[in-house]
């Protein structure tokens, strides 16, 4: 990803867009932060927030007409937040002592004619930019109409204090400036720029163009170099104090740019009010009317202000973060993550802090669906993984276990492609997928038998193996291409039959990577071809809630088909709030479970808590992950092919990692023996080692992802080579063996008919033995 791509991506996430109120405010006051400070009673902080963008908070805070209220999102659930009244309440508290940053003095001189809000603002801004500013007031008093505002709204003392700030900045003032053309031409010669604050200049002397004020002034000076005007607030309400002030600010910016010799307009699109791109969901916001001050003259009491500020929604988006525990876990949002991932990719030295962020996403795509701008975090993470693998920077531990599992599934221990055993042809190819075979091999056998019975022509083949999604998810494209083309070759050799995957992930892999194939989900096939006689609704205490696997997100036909199957089974069911295109991941997707098992645990619990009922789903991984989290969960096949031995399929435990491999091998052997009369695959010598493993140790192995076959290989090696340690007190042995990229340690003892396992663990570092 280059800088430009990053910018583009960042701009897609609108979470950092200012809220509507701030965009609408001509001075762009950070109303949201201001309200947050007010709710917390942090008056000083609130003051400082105003002061950041507001030139004279003491004055404007009291008289602002709050055009921001027109766009406040609160209006959709009650009244707009009374931002003007809140500002008033804030500036009634003592102002914090604060030094305003000022740029170094420049040589250029600027005159501001008039001393109403626009001129005062222009003077303030220009003085802070380092210019020598002189205010020229035709009347005998600085501030003109500000003094006409009733004292209880804007006390004179406040005006005086605020104007003091100008003197502190070194602004000079001249009263009784005689406003006529000669005088203007004279000051034009003496100053580098002249600002005419039309909001404060009601007298124009003789008007030689015959036009009424202020058009006359505008006509007269238009095109004259060095003159700038503002203060009429023609776009806003012409009496709007905040518009008048802002016009002084915009003129000051233009003057500064002209005097610096840079573009007057570049990058100023957001000077004026604009509409916010920020999205804020209003669905769960309850209606609250505005707080009316008890004393309308004095305004809000502190208490009332706190209450009113509490109605501010603190507008933000975070739609994706609300639904994704992964996005929440890392404490940011996609815009921030995009930058972190970009930095991760571009640093050469130092810690790659975003590795875990990149590898923990389940690639489920829910963020893209809920985001108002369709930001796809999964695309970003997958691309980053591919880059990391390409640069040989992928942490080996992130995906290795899953990739080894994939390798197992694609080995002789499981992989097998056969046409129909009776006819030797294949017009259809059943692809049960490695995880369904790992979880429920008997059902796979039954499904295959059923398909051969109900589909015409006795030409249903079967392919056992992995769809290679793990390699794809790991970002290992080379591995994926290699394995997937092997799969494709076998499919082609069978005559390109229609593929019938049982698993939604396999379905996606075929659909995306084998577009020439005719792919149809098992559920659609069963719907068309009919259910077996034994298919039954289950005796559950309440109707189960249906969970759509995240890889079906964009497959409404599959969603419908599954629901029609349930109806046909006369099985009542409930819908989850997050269903179909809005379904949540079970934590398996994207290899989240490998890279971040703890997070995957909270992801599946998040899914399990959506509904109190048992779940019914149609992905073996979803079913097993839910079951492992303690949720009662069924696979749709539990209803269509109920097992006579399984009294309570919703309570069935998730088979462990070793069991999953055994189940796959069992399935292959049983199919080979019964359908093709082939003899089973040869066993490795270590597989004959008999182990006794207590449930506690079993759990340890499961958590540490240590397989029974790993342990057998360690013991085989130790007993064969004699290289092991012995504990004199317990008589236990301890041995190690390096397999793939880890060293496995096993503590065991020899028992009557085999070996008792007491403990096992592994590390990835390699021992080079000899010291330095």
């Amino acid at each position: 990803m280059d800088q430009k791509a990053l910018r583009l991506l960042e701009s897609r996430c609108i979470q950092e867009e200012p809220p509507a109120c701030q965009c609408a405010c001509p001075l762009h006051v950070d109303v949201r932060t201001f309200s947050r400070c007010m709710v917390q009673g942090l008056w000083e902080e609130a003051w400082k927030t105003l002061k950041k963008t507001m030139p004279f908070p003491g004055i404007l805070g009291r008289i602002c007409d709050a055009p921001c209220r027109d766009v406040c999102r609160r209006k959709e659930a009650g009244d707009a937040v009374e931002i003007g009244l809140l500002e008033r309440a804030c500036v009634h508290t003592p102002a914090p002592v604060q030094r305003m940053p000022v740029l170094p003095r420049k040589r250029q001189r600027v005159a501001a004619v008039g001393s109403a809000l626009s001129s005062l603002t222009a003077a303030w801004d220009l003085a802070r930019k380092g210019y020598n500013v002189t205010l020229l007031e035709p009347s005998d008093r600085m501030g003109v109409y500000l003094f006409e505002i009733p004292d209880e709204v804007l006390p004179r003392s406040v005006i005086e204090t605020e104007m003091e700030a100008l003197f502190v900045l070194g602004v000079e003032t001249v009263c009784r400036f005689s406003l006529d053309w000669d005088a203007l031409e004279e000051i034009r010669r003496r100053f580098d720029a002249v600002y005419l604050g039309l909001d404060g200049l009601t007298f124009w002397g003789e008007c030689d163009t015959g036009e009424p004020w202020p058009d006359a002034a505008l006509t007269r000076i238009s095109g004259l170099e060095g003159f700038f005007t503002g203060g009429l607030a023609l776009e806003g309400n012409s009496f709007s104090p905040v518009w008048r002030s802002a016009e002084g600010r915009w003129a000051a910016t233009t003057i500064d740019r002209c005097l610096q010799g840079v573009s007057r307009t570049a990058g100023r699109e957001k000077d004026r009010p604009y509409s916010s791109r920020l999205y804020t969901a209003m669905d769960d916001v309850s209606v609250l009317p505005a707080i009316t001050p008890q004393d309308s003259v004095a305004g809000y009491t502190e208490n009332e202000a706190v209450q009113e500020a509490g109605r501010c929604l603190q507008c933000e988006c975070l739609e994706c973060v609300k639904v994704c525990p992964y996005l929440k876990h890392f404490g940011g949002y996609p815009r921030k993550y995009a930058r972190e991932i970009y930095n991760n990719d571009s640093i050469v030295m130092g810690s790659h802090k975003a590795n875990r962020l990149i590898n923990s996403c389940s690639l489920c795509g829910l963020c893209e669906v809920v985001c108002p701008e369709n930001f796809a975090m999964q695309t970003l993470c997958l691309k980053a993984r591919q880059d990391m693998v390409g640069k040989k920077r992928m942490p080996p531990s992130a995906h290795e276990f899953a990739l080894m599992d994939m390798q197992f599934s694609n080995s002789d221990r499981f992989a097998m492609t056969r046409p129909d055993p009776e006819t030797g042809i294949a017009s259809h190819l059943f692809f049960p997928g490695c995880q369904l075979c790992a979880s429920a091999p008997e059902q796979v056998r039954d499904v295959y038998a059923h398909l051969r019975r109900v589909l015409p022509l006795k030409s249903v083949g079967i392919m056992l193996g992995c769809c290679n999604a793990p390699a794809f998810w790991a970002g290992d494209d080379a591995l994926f291409q290699k394995e997937f083309s092997a799969l494709k070759e076998q499919w082609t050799a069978l005559g390109c039959p229609q593929i019938i995957p049982a698993c939604a992930t396999c379905y996606q892999m075929f659909k995306c990577h084998l577009p020439e194939a005719d792919v149809i989900s098992l559920w659609q096939v069963l719907e068309g071809a009919g259910l077996p006689a034994g298919a039954l609704p289950l005796k559950l205490s309440a109707p189960p809630a249906i969970h759509d696997p995240c890889t079906t997100r964009h497959e409404p036909e599959i969603h419908d088909s599954v629901r029609r199957l349930l109806n046909r089974l006369e099985q009542p069911f409930e819908e989850l709030k997050g269903n179909r295109s809005h379904t949540a991941c079970c934590g398996f997707g994207g290899l989240m479970q490998n890279a971040n098992p703890e997070l995957a645990g909270s992801v599946v619990r998040h899914l399990a808590h959506q509904h109190p009922a048992d779940y019914v789903t149609y992905c073996a991984m979803c079913r097993d992950n839910l079951a492992a989290s303690g949720k009662r969960a069924l696979h749709l096949l539990d209803m269509i092919f109920p097992s006579p031995d399984e009294a309570d399929p919703a309570g069935r435990r998730r088979p462990g990692w070793s069991q999953r491999r055994e189940n796959r091998s069992w399935l292959k052997n049983i199919l080979q023996q019964t359908l093709w009369k082939e003899s089973p695959e040869n066993m490795e010598p270590y597989e004959n080692i008999a182990l006794s493993v207590s449930p506690e140790v079993q759990q340890i192995l499961e958590n540490r992802r240590i397989l029974i076959s790993d342990i057998q290989r360690v013991i085989y090696h130790a007993e064969d080579s004699g290289q092991k340690l012995c504990h004199p007190d317990t008589g236990h042995f301890k041995a190690a063996f390096r397999l793939y990229n880890a060293t496995f340690w096993v503590e065991y003892s020899i028992s009557e008919n085999g070996f008792t396992i007491h403990n096992a663990y592994s590390h990835r570092m390699e021992i080079l033995r000899k010291g330095p």
Partner: protein
């Protein structure tokens, strides 16, 4: 990088089954992702078989592995 106290007294109770001697503490070079580090770990003084205890494997060693993976 690794805790020099990689060896606990109970680790030295183990006896090398091939050489029939107790383990002693000594320097060992470990390697991961092209990085080598040297630490003291219990080992057989005769054949050099090194013991990585559960505490070391799942504690310090796992930490260092993680740090090297993210380097």
């Amino acid at each position: 990088m690794m805790n020099p106290k990689g060896t606990q007294p109970e680790d030295l109770v183990w006896e090398c089954q091939a050489c029939h001697v107790n383990l002693v503490e000594g320097p060992v070079t470990l390697m991961y992702m092209g990085n080598r580090i040297t630490v003291d770990l219990p080992q057989c003084p005769r054949c050099g078989f090194v013991l990585v205890s559960e505490a070391v494997a799942l504690g310090k060693m796992a930490e260092v592995e993680q740090a090297l993976e993210d380097k």
